[in-house]
Amino acid sequence: MWIEIGHFAAITAFLLAITQTGTALVGVTLTRPVWVRVSRRATFATFALLTLAGGTLVAAFLGHDFSVRYVAEHSSLELPLFYLATAVWGGHEGSLLLWAWLLSLFNAIAVWRYWATHARSIPWILAILGGLLAGFLTLILFLSSPFDRLFPAPANGQDLNPLLQDPGMVFHPPFLYIGYVGFAIPYAFAMAALITGQAGEEWILATRRWTLFAWIALTIGIVFGGYWAYYELGWGGYWAWDPVENASFMPWLTATAFLHSVMVQERRGLFKTWNLFLIITTFALSLLGTFLVRSGVLSSVHAFASDPGRGVYILIFMSVLLFFSFGVLVLRAELLRAEIHLESPLSKESAFLFNNLLLVVGALTVLLGTLYPLAVETLSTAKVSVGAPYYNRVFIPIMLGILLLMGIAPLIAWRRTPLARLRRDFPLPILLGIVGLLVALWQQVSHPYGVATAALIFFVIGTHGLDVVRGVRARLAAGTRQTGTQTGTTSPLTALWQLLTRNKRRYGGMTVHIGIVVMSAGFIGSGLFQQELDLFLSPGDSVQLGDWKLTLEAVGKAAKYNWTAVEATVRAERQGETVILKPQKRSYGKRSQPTTEAAIHSTWREDVYVVMGDPVKENTWNFRIYRNPLVAWIWWGTGLIALGVAFAMMQGRRNT
């Protein structure tokens, strides 16, 4: 009964989304504000209805209502409570509903926040967002409804895919979707700005926080995906350049470019068309990421079951959206001709330009690598796969370039940087870079990329540190001048605090940079220094890996919730330090394919990572043991990035 109410609510929401677009368009073309107000009401109602619809689906999961097909396919009586609610986005239909619900939530917030301040663009924003939502709801209601009943209802469900029963998977999709959907708001603002011809700085100022918010959600979502892969898939890695991972990475790259280039438009009025292009591209790539998984076009570990009707609809939807967005951009681009030009190559503007070029070229190389197998498969009969070797070759140099620019950024000025200043500021960081290079060589990093990354990491830390030290000194000097005494009343710590809080955007951004540097250290550590053992062990056997001695003590059984497992007890010892690791091979009963649960001992220096394989003979099992240096740095780096973004978001609009 409830699920029918949910279904009905979703259908009503669909009709209201169409109303939202229709009334907004009528209102703006006939200049009848009352129509636009109807559109606004429709937005709030849509959100309420979709919340109800989602709620009934959650209730169906919690109540084990297996007469709902989607519940029967993704849940079971044995599924733990924690995963019951999150199983809602464990499949194609439910995750689309999450998408649509988030979009309606963001619509409502955007309309509520910007109704009064952006009266001219709001009708267009309403129309565009309503159209988007209607497009999504069409896909949900007519081609992949989570509200269908199943007759006769089975006594128990098929259970959630065991690989998805992991905390990483609980958070990975929602964060990713918040990121994807979050870009819809800046996108709608950009389109409205283009259509109304007011493509000045207004839309950028309005959506700065949205963009930051979407960016950080996307970042966290991607990292959760990597974390899940690392802990649950048991292949010792966190990133595999899978087409769908790529699909989430491409909008991240273009969004990062956008975050940087908007600063140039804000400060200097340059890059207007480029910014519009970037945000439209980012949102288009977000949609591509959502759809690529569902259309059955690419094969990937993420692929949902495909259905030809769905694929055709998705294609039509994408075509309309892409041609509409880029078409408007092309038609209206003339409005945006900038009168100002770059003054000097040694300026922040041009550094941002290169940063943008590298990021966009990076996104293009990922796009090429993702589409190439599809092109080959379509145009000939061969099947190819593009994997890590291609991406390592083309992508790492681009990332190195970005790291270099990141290091230069804080020390060069807008417009032009006097050479004297460069001579004053750069020797110290460069020296640090050389130290980094020597450290790398001393640590026997032999790969040139590894050496270069290490040097650049030190260089970036040098320039960022120097910038903060300069700021603190200047503030102290100013404080001394003001009080007129030699003793000075401000302590360096107060000065630092004032410096950081006066310009939260700048120092938030620099914190993000340091986060990226910490992550890069993690990438080289785990990428170049991973040690791997693949061997057979019987209880009592010992093996040496790095300075760890690992002993298989026993193999027993374990069971919890809905799974049973074969569990090994491995003792890892190093200089008086002893840890017990318990890798498992889990069976979830209903699905025969067992999952591996890696046991990981994580320290700041390295992870000891043990995966239990199949039994080879009586009392002997296959084990894979990895030493993954600095992996924890990747998670910490992400934490720093999140902190930095939160800090930057605390600052409202620039007053000057």
């Binding site: 076009v297 294609l315 994408m318 880029f326 796969s385």
Partner: protein
């Protein structure tokens, strides 16, 4: 924005969309092979442990020949099914699985098996792709089902999928294991 950029942008988008449209009709599993119902080309090479291996030594059994390589990412997604299939059919006396590891190094192949699990059957090495060319392999993974008389009965392009054995192979196996020799021979 210059006209040339506008045109490039729109054409680029159109090209991607056309590619997707064509890709929708791709069903990689539906490539007919001229070798179906013809004798399977024999091969004799070494396996991953350096021991000699040939197709002929399995005459009299159904042989599933699976072409793969450690460079092939679709093989990773296929692999869990092969592990399961090998476990399920281990007890059958009329069915064996052989891997052909082509365009690959021995070290790469062993690494792949270590990473993704070793199904336990043997793998012929084909670093020069000689076998793959003889058999008309387009890419990886591809699988051929060879009957006890040595004829290729069907070809699967792309990964084998859950239920493949029961739905596709088993009917063929059962049709020929129903005794064809003695009872019919007795009739005039």
């Amino acid at each position: 924005m210059k006209t040339i950029w506008k045109v490039t942008l729109l054409l680029g988008i159109a090209a991607i969309l056309v590619l997707f449209a064509l890709g929708l009709n791709n069903d990689p599993r539906m490539i007919p092979s001229p070798l179906v119902n013809r004798p399977a080309p024999d091969f004799a090479t070494t396996d991953l442990d350096g021991k000699p291996i040939s197709l002929a030594e399995h005459r009299g059994k159904w042989v599933l020949v699976n072409f793969w390589g450690s460079w092939c990412s679709s093989c990773v997604s296929e692999h869990p099914y092969l592990l399961e299939l090998a476990r399920k059919t281990r007890s059958r006396s009329d069915f064996v699985i052989l891997g052909v590891d082509f365009r690959d190094t021995e070290q790469g192949a062993k690494m792949f098996l270590a990473r993704n699990g070793n199904p336990g059957y043997r793998h012929a090495t084909d670093p020069e792709q000689k076998i793959a060319i003889d058999w008309g392999v387009y890419g990886a993974p591809e699988s051929y089902l060879v009957d006890p008389t040595g004829r290729i009965r069907l070809k699967q392009t792309g990964p084998l999928y859950a239920g493949w054995f029961e739905q596709v192979a088993l009917p063929l196996l059962q049709e020929s294991t129903t005794p064809t020799g003695t009872p019919q021979a007795g009739k005039p």
